[in-house]
């Protein structure tokens, strides 16, 4: 691919990254004519003292007294509506989201309802339903993986229909993303691992899915390289602040990349497993990424092979024959997952059957797989996958991912030519 026939790239989030980035927030909010922000966060973030870190950083210049900390792991539209209600009650004029993907998406949703009016987020579902500029939104990620600070989509669950809804518009993009290593310093190793693998998945899928373009590619390749070089170092030494800042940057780059090139079957399955079994997004991503690469290999193997360079370095890339590179990419990612599994004392699952809840009970049981496969048809990510992905195909991938076996490439339905991007 030199240039695709058409592409669309938009990345207008201001990014502030550095050891003291939080201190810049008051001045930047002032420039956006915002003075009374609502903090949207979750109880875990408050408990870890991260809201206090932000408060201390902006002390004297900005008062952060309005806090909504009721966001659950898998946020739904009712939570969004509640946050918007509080925004109006407290007469706020902007939102600061402090947290991971769920918090950021909730803040995006709340910003839609608070800015545009109405009682419920459901009125704005779909593509381009948000048609004008929203109130200022500042995002401070506390995990290095979601990339949600750079995306034009808010993914919010509908518990009644058991699906994840997409709210897509350029106006949903936050105004400012603040990357400060203090915010990810206390992140436990298994969460650091799964969120970084989430960023890796964003970058890989952005690189081989149908809407890839030269700009998203450059973000994706750099993000893959940074995760590959820093993740294992940070897991070994959690106090490595440079490494943590690097991972936060990789996550943001991967976010910018996939926001403009979309994602495929890994996210399709990941969203569905998340909606049905409440599996954390990063965990599902790290497990399914090798399967996504394997499943699409016959359609875009050459492009997948190119990932080996940032992933494993120039020496491995040069030593590996061109036709063996896609396989090597999959092998390398499986090795990373195995290493992370050992380094986190088994808290980074490698297969779907290894995912357990707090009581040690299996979260994704084998009996749920057909329902998950069927529900993949209702997720928008299937559109951008290079190969067609129907329920029988999803079942094939799920069975292998559940057992932890490499995908049997002979069983993958092949009926199309190599992809021309």
């Amino acid at each position: 691919m030199l240039l695709p026939g058409f592409y669309d790239f938009c990345c207008r989030v201001r990014i502030v990254s550095g050891q003291n980035a939080l201190e810049k927030i008051p001045a930047m909010l002032k420039k956006m004519k915002a003075h009374t922000p609502l903090i949207v966060t979750d109880k875990g973030v408050v408990g870890a003292g991260l809201v206090d870190v932000v408060r201390a950083a902006v002390a004297g210049e900005l008062k952060l007294s309005n806090v909504y900390d009721n966001v659950p792991v898998d946020s739904d539209y009712k939570i969004v509506d509640e946050a918007a209600k509080i925004y109006r009650q407290k007469n706020c004029d902007s939102i600061i989201a402090i947290g991971g993907g769920s918090v950021i998406d909730t803040a995006k949703g709340a910003n839609i309802v608070a800015s545009l009016g109405g009682d419920t987020l459901l009125d704005y579902e779909g593509f381009s339903a948000v048609k004008r500029k929203l109130n200022p939104l500042v995002v401070i990620p506390t995990t290095a993986g979601t990339g949600s600070e750079m995306t034009l989509v808010a993914v919010i669950a509908d518990p009644d229909r058991k699906i994840k809804m997409l709210f897509v518009s350029y106006f949903v993009l936050p105004d400012l993303a603040v990357l400060d290593p203090r915010m990810t310093k206390t992140l436990p190793d298994f969460l650091t691992a799964s969120t970084a693998m989430d960023a890796m998945t964003h970058a890989c899928e952005a690189y081989y899915c149908l809407e890839k373009n030269p700009l998203s590619d450059s973000f994706a390749l750099r993000a893959i390289r940074i995760v590959s070089e820093n993740l294992l170092k940070v897991i070994k030494n959690p106090a490595d602040m440079e490494g943590r800042l690097a991972l936060a940057n990789a996550s943001t780059m991967a976010g910018a990349s996939f926001s403009n090139s979309m994602v495929g079957l890994v996210h399709n399955l990941g969203h569905t497993i998340g909606a049905i079994c409440h599996v954390p997004h990063g965990t599902a991503m790290s497990i399914l990424l090798p399967y996504g690469l394997e499943y699409n290999m016959h359609r875009c193997g050459e492009v997948i092979g190119e990932i080996l360079l940032p992933l494993a370095g120039s020496e491995v890339y040069a030593k590996t024959k061109k036709e063996e590179r896609p396989g090597k990419v999959v092998e390398f990612i499986r090795k990373m997952n195995n290493y992370l599994h050992e380094a986190t004392g088994g808290r980074h699952p490698r297969y779907l059957k290894e995912i357990v809840d707090k009581n040690g009970a299996q979260v994704v049981t084998e009996s749920l797989l057909p329902a998950i496969a069927e529900a993949t048809m209702q997720d928008g990510a299937r559109m951008a996958n290079p190969e067609e992905f129907l329920p029988p195909d999803a079942m094939l991938v799920l069975e292998h991912a559940w057992e932890g076996k490499p995908l049997d490439l002979g069983k993958v339905n092949k009926g199309g030519k190599k992809i021309k991007y």
Binding site: G126, L210, M377, Q378, M383, A384, E387, G415
Partner: protein, 204 residues
């Protein structure tokens, strides 16, 4: 140069493309109506849509079909009142009992739940002349979806199946992401349904 004598530039009407797209939309609409009756897979896919649901597929802008002057020369089925007044479009309705019906091209008085809008006639031409697959068109922003995204995914899947029924393999391969293998769709099913859909679409 006398600016008053400067000729006014009029946009091209692209009549042949408009007629082709209008016929294709009509064919697709009728074919989906028939396929929903005769094919189990299409029926199952459409079951995902709620009852009392109206879908519209159209070419922007509305009221853009310059057919008034040509109306008399065209076959009766193309000269739909809706086409003349509201532009190129087709409406499909799923009623209270779950039956799918093609409603022609007149949206007046109908509540549209899902609106799939090709941004212009060229975009519709690229897709409906199979120069671009549905997935590629989606990636290239050829159309806008207004309404529940999940329902548009169902429609795209139905469109893919119907295209496989209607078109010879060499063309259908351009329109869908993966042409179904024999294990996914038997040749017997494909050819029998193709004949049935064509006959019923053009006769009833």
């Amino acid at each position: 140069m006398n600016i008053n004598k400067y000729p006014q530039i009029r946009p091209g009407k692209k009549l042949s493309k408009r007629v082709y797209v209008a016929i294709m939309l009509w064919t697709v609409g009728k074919a989906i109506q028939v396929a929903a009756k005769v094919d189990k897979e299409v029926k199952e896919e459409l079951a995902r849509l709620p009852n009392n649901f109206t879908l519209r597929m159209m070419v922007a802008p509305e009221k853009a079909f310059p057919l008034f002057f040509y109306a008399k020369t065209l076959p009766a089925f193309v000269v739909d009142k809706g086409l003349l007044f509201y532009g190129i479009q087709m409406l499909l309705h799923k009623d209270k009992e779950g039956k799918i019906k093609y409603l022609g091209a007149d949206p007046k008085g109908k509540k549209v739940d899902l609106n799939i809008v090709f941004k212009n006639i060229e975009a519709a031409w690229l897709v409906l002349s199979f120069q671009e697959s549905t997935a590629t068109a989606y990636m290239h922003d050829r159309f806008v979806v207004e309404g529940d995204l999940v329902h548009s995914l169902t429609f795209v899947r139905v469109l893919d199946i119907v295209e496989v029924f209607l078109l010879p393999k060499i063309i259908a391969k351009l329109a869908v992401k993966r042409y179904p293998k024999w294990s996914e769709m038997s040749p017997l099913r494909k050819f029998v349904k193709r004949v049935v859909i064509y006959i019923r679409a053009y006769t009833f």
